[in-house]
């Protein structure tokens, strides 16, 4: 029989402090029995012979010094099973869909151990998302972590859903699954996701964890860990290719800051805790492929940049950990372009290992570089045109200016259900590149020009 302690001496925000306990392990799971009969859960944050600090996941509302505290003697574990597919669970892993509890095949520590870099297989399998700005210029590969950096009011959810619907490895029929973790998003947004999952039949291949805006903020700290634990289980024990969508990382970080403040820690930049980099890394780094195992975990997180500021600590630290970022642009959105992905600040660090002959097409890298260079210069010229007028531009510059418009309207813009395969994407790219004089295509080898340039290809 586990002992129940009634020695709470202080309750502060989401934290409780207890005195005179038997030795308690760091990180242990804690049950708190309230006087009204309900039970809350928490985790040990600091333990010494004299005092123990516990963070309570469901919030400390209703707690008083009469509440009983039971230490379970183990760290937080998630019951996992293949039957989780198709289920909707709360942010702390309880069923929300009225179904039975998960019958566990195993119980796994939610913090996960860090993968030995020596065991990692460098990701290199091209994932086709059907979106040109991703496939063509910021290619996603299996095992990558590539977040969407967005802002309030931008269609990042639609983009994420389109990716979840369309993502596939061309020519592959392997098992895949989607793990979706909502952290502090609104009920409306959650329903939007759920409806789309149901409509497209994706739900039966998905595990959903929902922590909504009115759920306790502390719970948000474990929600992504539960999701990643489920994902790792499906990937490494059941050989599935798992796409994890975490939304919204910003809410997660807010919860982290809230906890830090409650613990009276020395704050770092903008009040976020100094260990936020390490903490975020412990989430993002749980993506990858292991040598000799079939499954993989690919992460596609959504992050709304406060004030569209990419230097804000949340996107900034994320960008240093993730393998690139897809940046959603307000400017393109205002122009009515969907998906409004601005390729210039976007980046996929693993692109080079996922493209080229045998994976996508031999000209892929050259085409991508050429379009980047052209579009970057074209956008600069727009600034110049605003001052001196279009007439003052040289012939060459005018062509580049037109290229930038073409790029946005033909390459970036596509339908919400338009699933372009990589051939289509690269062909669109060549169509617009052919509007430039050939002498300007300095980044493309002549052999590709001869092979793919519409002017040469036809004859």
């Amino acid at each position: 029989m586990t002992k129940e302690y009634k020695t709470i001496t202080e309750i502060a925000g989401p934290l409780i402090f207890l005195e005179k306990t038997e030795p308690v392990g760091y990180g242990e799971l804690v049950h708190i029995n309230l006087p009204d009969g309900t039970t809350k859960r928490g985790q040990v944050l600091d333990t010494s012979a004299d005092i123990v600090a516990v963070q309570v996941f469901e919030g400390t509302g209703g707690l008083n010094e009469e509440s009983g505290v039971v230490f379970t003697g183990e760290t937080i574990k998630l019951p996992v099973s293949k039957d989780m597919l198709g289920r909707i669970l709360s942010g702390s892993g309880e069923p929300l869909d009225g179904g039975p509890r998960i019958v566990p095949e195993d119980r796994v520590d939610v913090n996960g151990a860090s993968m030995n870099p020596y065991s990692r297989k460098p990701p290199e399998d091209f994932i086709q998302t059907g979106i040109s700005t991703i496939d063509g210029t910021n290619t996603l590969v299996r095992g990558q972590k590539l977040p969407i950096f967005s802002g309030s009011g931008l269609p990042h959810n639609e983009i994420a859903l389109q990716i979840a619907r369309q993502a596939k490895v061309p020519g592959s029929t392997e098992d895949f699954a989607v793990v979706f973790a909502a952290m502090g998003i609104t009920n409306e947004e959650a329903q939007y996701f759920m409806q789309d999952f149901e409509k497209t039949g994706a739900l039966e291949r998905a595990v959903v964890f929902l922590n909504l805006a009115d759920d306790p903020a502390v719970e948000r700290i474990i929600t992504p860990r539960l999701a990643l634990t489920a994902a790792e289980y499906l990937a490494y024990e059941h050989d599935m290719h798992v796409l994890v969508i975490l939304t919204d990382i910003t809410n997660y970080c807010e919860a982290l800051r809230q906890m830090g403040a409650a613990r009276e820690e020395v704050p770092g930049r903008r009040g976020y805790p100094g260990y936020m980099y390490t903490d975020l890394a412990s989430l993002y780094e749980r993506a990858g492929v292991i040598k000799g195992r079939k499954g993989s975990v690919t992460q596609f997180s959504i992050l709304t940049m406060p004030g569209d500021d990419i230097t804000h600590p949340i996107p900034d630290l994320s960008g240093y950990i993730t393998e690139g970022q897809i940046v959603v642009s307000r400017e393109l959105h205002r122009k009515g372009i969907y998906p409004p992905i601005n390729v210039l600040p976007s980046l996929s660090r693993l692109m080079n290992s996922g493209i080229g002959d045998g994976k996508t097409r031999d000209d892929h890298k050259a085409v991508s570089d050429q379009m980047y260079a052209g579009y970057a210069e074209g956008r600069d010229l727009r600034g110049l045109v605003a001052i001196v007028g279009k007439e003052a531009l040289s012939e060459r510059d005018q062509r580049i200016l037109e290229f930038a418009d073409l790029f946005e309207n033909r390459f970036v813009r596509q339908g919400r259900d338009e699933d372009r395969n990589i051939e289509d994407t690269l062909n669109v790219a060549w169509d617009i590149l052919s509007e430039l004089p050939e002498a300007l295509l300095t980044r493309v080898d002549n052999k590709y020009i001869e092979k793919y340039h519409p002017a040469h290809k036809s004859n």
Binding site: S114, Y118, R269, T311, Q325
Partner: protein, 576 residues
Amino acid sequence: MKGEIYRVAGPVVTITGIKPKMYDVVHVGHEGLMGEVIRIKGDKATVQVYEDTSGIKPGEPVVNTGMSLSVELGPGLLESIYDGIQRPLKVLQEKMGDFIERGVTANGLDREKNWEFKPVLSAGDSVKGGEIIGVVQETENIEHKIMVPPTVSGTVEEIKSGKFKVDETICTLTNGAEISMMQKWPVRKPRPVNKKFIPNRPLITGQRILDGLFPVAKGGTAAIPGPFGSGKTVTQQQLAKWSDTDIVVYIGCGERGNEMADVLNEFPELQDPKTGRPLMERTVLIANTSNMPVAAREASVYTGITIAEYYRDMGYDVSLMADSSSRWAEAMREISSRLEEMPGEEGYPAYLSARLSEFYERAGVVRSLGGEEGSITVIGAVSPPGGDFSEPVTQNTLRIVKVFWALDAKLAQRRHFPSINWLTSYSLYTQGLSDWFTENVAPDWVPLRDNAMDLLQQESELQEIVQLVGSDALPEDQQLILEICRMIREYFLQQNAFHPVDTYCPFDKQYKLLKAISKYSDMAQAALENGVPMKDILSLGSKDELAKIKFEEDFDGALNTVLTKMDKEFAALGGN
């Protein structure tokens, strides 16, 4: 002596009941997790633990080893891949699978392997600390020199020859000291040297913007700061691959797991341009990714530089890449905040600056205790939050290092790689290395380079005018400057790390390439003065062809073709 745990708060554990010294390594808990004493107060001591502390309880036992954190130095370091506290990742994988569990110890050096030891001394010779007593062929091209530990000296009583394991005695001194091929050294203490010199030879990297415009000397220090996505890691890896040093120590400190996997995958495949052998044979990798324990991340940088010093003492040129020093500083910040220390700027501990300078000061060209001349070049990546160079880690680093390679997100966005900004970067070695360049590259290399720098400076001023009035409004000679600068930027400065030929550019090729651009510049200027219209000069075919010769296998052949064509084309332009 045994003590017990008093308190656990994340990676910081307070112990009681024993009296350790500062920086002693202790084993805490039933699982014996490794940690290091970082504060002593009354009967309690604070320990930073290198492994995850979940489930560890107050009251669990603590054992003091009485030694400070040390690395094992000896044959077998090369080709190894370690975590931050010198545990070989391969051994960890064999012991516990694909995920790193805790409480596993592993020796830095393989105890089972036999090495062929050849003595260079014989009985009766007197030796002092740091002197070489024999050699071991560690890899095909690296001869590992076995040295007397720095604190030992005496007269050789017996010295053996043949195959031995690293911990077997190979030499005894008359005073009873026994010497094996392995020695231990505490990582936080620099290995002693005889004398330090001023660096006067360049580190040749095969990267045009680095060698050409902002060279670093062997034994010097350089920093690469840049926002994410600007190419820090690619630049660091290029340096690790192509630098003309004997030994490379690459520290992946708090960086991405997949990136490390890529390095681990790629290095054994790549060839050393000098010897044609796999690059891995001269490399020691230290991989402590961002999700591995933060205290081990703090230690990883010291582990790396101690290994570098050991090879330097044998007389080798060593280069050390730390990617990224910001993650190291953050690890210090994290531990400092857990200790509830008074924070300095932006929450970093007040000793940040001191730690950074201590670290970079371990670089240099030295004469070792044994009389060998070796060097360590330290190249640290810095990841400033938001790309803001005014933050403490960048600023404190810049106060120490002599070379600054400023990465620029704007350049990266337009796919100008390496995206090193030529206006804000600097090298304080340029003057000191001039003699070497004049002698070894070409007599006119220095003026050629200075002229290119000068033009790029002019370009930035002209660009401001262009932004206001458009380029057509400039006089023709200035338009020509803009064009020459575009050529310098695109033909010379841009370099494709992923192109099989362009990834490494020898000095001779760098010189010829810049010379060719300069030749076009001179001829164009002359033609302009002779009244040839600007657009004719700009539309020469040879100019566009110059863009692609850096990718040619037969560079000299391609260059000659282009130069001959250029002569013809200019001759045909004529003028009055």
